[in-house]
């Protein structure tokens, strides 16, 4: 079983469109994992059925037992996040301000405060429109993506791939370069970077490539909309070739990308120049992965 992770560093580069296209090309050979839970969008392209749902918990939250509370105010005094306030003579907790540090629990003389797991969202296991299995998640408002959630989504995808003897796991990776990204790289066989030739595109590419290199994972790069700024595209291709990154493809600025998206289709389900390019990239990738 081989795992491909698609990453971009910043939003808006076409990462999810390209991941969705790979998912359609791989069909039932692959399990799909959407780890971009901050902006989970792949369900719009792959029409999963949300068949299995489970709540997801991350971190903790303080709760006050009003029967035990004597309104002494020590919690409010100790809390550095301003999470406790006095309302009509009783202390209440603002869950959005509470960071779950637990200091209040330790210092409450009445033992009136306990910590409970904080619900952060839902995880789904679905069947997509091409018949493959997809693991994805939705965060609650104010909840943050974490290495833990990414690990959960990825681990279930990997287990399903082993159980069902699938050849590939295709992962839409998390944005940024923090803990969720590191978590989305665990066990990866290959990383596809999707970038665009803008002033911030190259900067983000350098940072994310640095993270991947540390884990010794082979990677390749797709420059999307390469023709909107040929000079920047040249700079990016220099960076790619001088850092041992496979140059996978240049995709031209192509309105059919959004046209396809508007019809809830991936680019490979339309007739367009980009379709052929992505099919070729996927063929190259599968060859690389199987050998």
């Amino acid at each position: 079983m081989k795992e491909v992770v698609i990453l971009s560093g910043k939003g808006g580069t076409g990462k999810t469109s390209i991941t969705g296209a790979f998912a359609v090309l791989a069909g039932q050979q692959a399990i799909i994992a959407d780890c971009d839970v901050d902006a989970a969008n792949m369900h719009l392209l792959l029409a999963p059925d949300f068949a299995e749902r489970s709540d997801f918990y991350s971190g903790e939250l303080a709760v006050i037992d009003s029967n035990k509370c004597t309104q002494c105010g020590i919690c409010a005094y100790k809390c550095r996040f301003g999470a406790f306030s006095l309302s009509n003579g009783t202390y209440v907790l603002d869950p959005l301000s509470c960071e779950g540090c637990g200091y209040c629990q330790i210092t409450c003389p009445e033992g009136a405060i306990s910590l409970v797991p904080r619900k952060a969202g839902q995880v789904f296991v679905s069947t997509t429109k091409v018949g493959s299995t997809m693991v994805h998640a939705k965060l609650d408002i104010g909840a943050e993506n974490s290495g833990k959630l990414v690990a959960k989504v990825k681990n279930s995808a990997q287990e399903l791939a082993k159980l069902k003897h699938k050849e590939f796991v295709i992962v839409d990776g998390s944005p940024g370069i923090g803990c969720p990204v590191v978590s989305s790289l665990a066990g990866a066989s290959y990383v596809v970077l999707v970038t665009e030739p803008t002033v911030s595109g190259l900067h983000d590419l350098e940072r994310i490539a640095g993270v991947i290199q540390k884990f010794r994972i082979p990677m390749g790069c797709i420059i999307n909309k390469f023709d909107i700024n040929p000079e920047m595209s040249t700079q990016i291709s220099h960076f790619i070739s001088s850092n041992g990154i496979d140059y996978l493809a240049n995709i031209p600025f192509d309105p059919s990308f959004t046209k396809a998206m508007a019809d809830a289709k991936t680019i490979v389900e339309t007739q367009s120049p980009a379709k052929l390019i992505i099919e070729e990239v996927w063929a190259t990738l599968t060859k690389k992965l199987i050998n």
Partner: protein, 292 residues
């Protein structure tokens, strides 16, 4: 009219890449042609408004958080600090107590519960705020130090700097981080009005709906700007109509905008359609200011 605290307009979007930076920078420059305007880049993990606002740097200031620092002489290695730290920022590694600054939430539990006062709290640099000025446009951005993970304290600090230092400027534009998580909640919490930037695609609609849900939960007054209008479909417009959310302006889908933007240029002076959209947004901002 009695002078009062600045009108704060937040610019947000459910996801990255919708044109939030394009709108913030062009709107700020446009508004400053008429009256002094402040632009605040609160996307502290990836601030990039500065790439488009070509203003000279006036000054910089370090921003701090409090972290515990291990005092080996006082420590009896009881390990209480490591046990109380929910974030595993303080761990006992053999005969050493190690503090991992980037994981520390500054809750003070380890420091204040230490029986021998061996973990006093000290300041630690987490980011930098940079101040720029060009004619009547003031611009500040805060940037997290690479490796620091908590955006919220720096966002809050930047808010209070804008409040204290720029109270004389009537309009504050706040460029918010993307998404619907804590940093967005922190960035929009003081705003009088929120502009949600989206694009007319199913992706745009999905993320807009999440952002709308967030804004409603926070009790915010908000409107929508549709970027790249003309490609995609009409589902965003239909959604806004159904939900009775005002669409205050649209920016057309033009390759020229993408090209200028990719080179770091402001576009409203060369592209009339963008200027027109900014005029409409400015009217809404004026109304919101008057209605306050």
């Amino acid at each position: 009219m009695i002078s009062r605290s600045p009108l704060k307009i937040a610019i947000a979007s459910g996801k990255g890449g919708t044109g939030k930076t394009l709108l913030s920078t062009n709107l700020a420059a446009y508004l400053s042609e008429f009256e002094p305007t402040l632009l605040v880049d609160l996307d502290v993990e990836e601030p990039n408004d500065a790439l488009f606002i070509n203003a000279p740097l006036l000054s910089t200031a370090n921003q701090h958080k409090m972290i515990p620092v291990w005092n080996e002489q006082e420590c009896i290695l009881c390990g209480k600090c490591a046990r109380v730290c929910k974030f595993h920022a303080v761990v006992r590694l053999g005969k050493t107590i190690s503090v991992f600054n980037q994981l520390c939430h500054s809750c003070y539990a380890c420091s204040e519960l230490c029986p021998t006062n061996a973990l006093p709290m000290q300041t630690h640099i987490v980011g930098e705020t940079r101040f720029f000025e060009k004619e009547s446009l003031s611009f500040i951005e805060s940037r997290l130090v690479v490796g620091e993970e908590q955006a919220v304290p720096l966002i809050n600090k930047t808010h209070s700097i804008a409040q204290q230092k720029y109270n004389h400027i009537k309009t504050h534009l706040l460029d918010c981080p993307p998404g619907t998580s804590c940093p967005v909640v922190a960035a929009t919490k003081d705003a009088h009005y929120v502009i949600l930037v989206t694009e007319p695609t199913p992706f745009g609609l999905n993320d807009l709906a999440l952002a709308v849900e967030t804004m409603r939960q926070l009790g915010k007054d908000f409107g929508v700007v549709i970027n790249r209008e003309g490609h995609g479909n009409s589902s965003v417009k239909e959604y806004c109509q159904r939900e009775q959310i005002p669409v205050i302006a649209s920016i057309p889908f033009q390759r020229e905008i993408a090209e200028l933007y990719s080179t770091g240029q402001l576009v409203y002076s060369t592209i009339p359609a963008v200027r027109q959209a900014l005029e409409q947004i400015a009217l809404v901002i004026k109304e919101k200011g008057a209605a306050r």
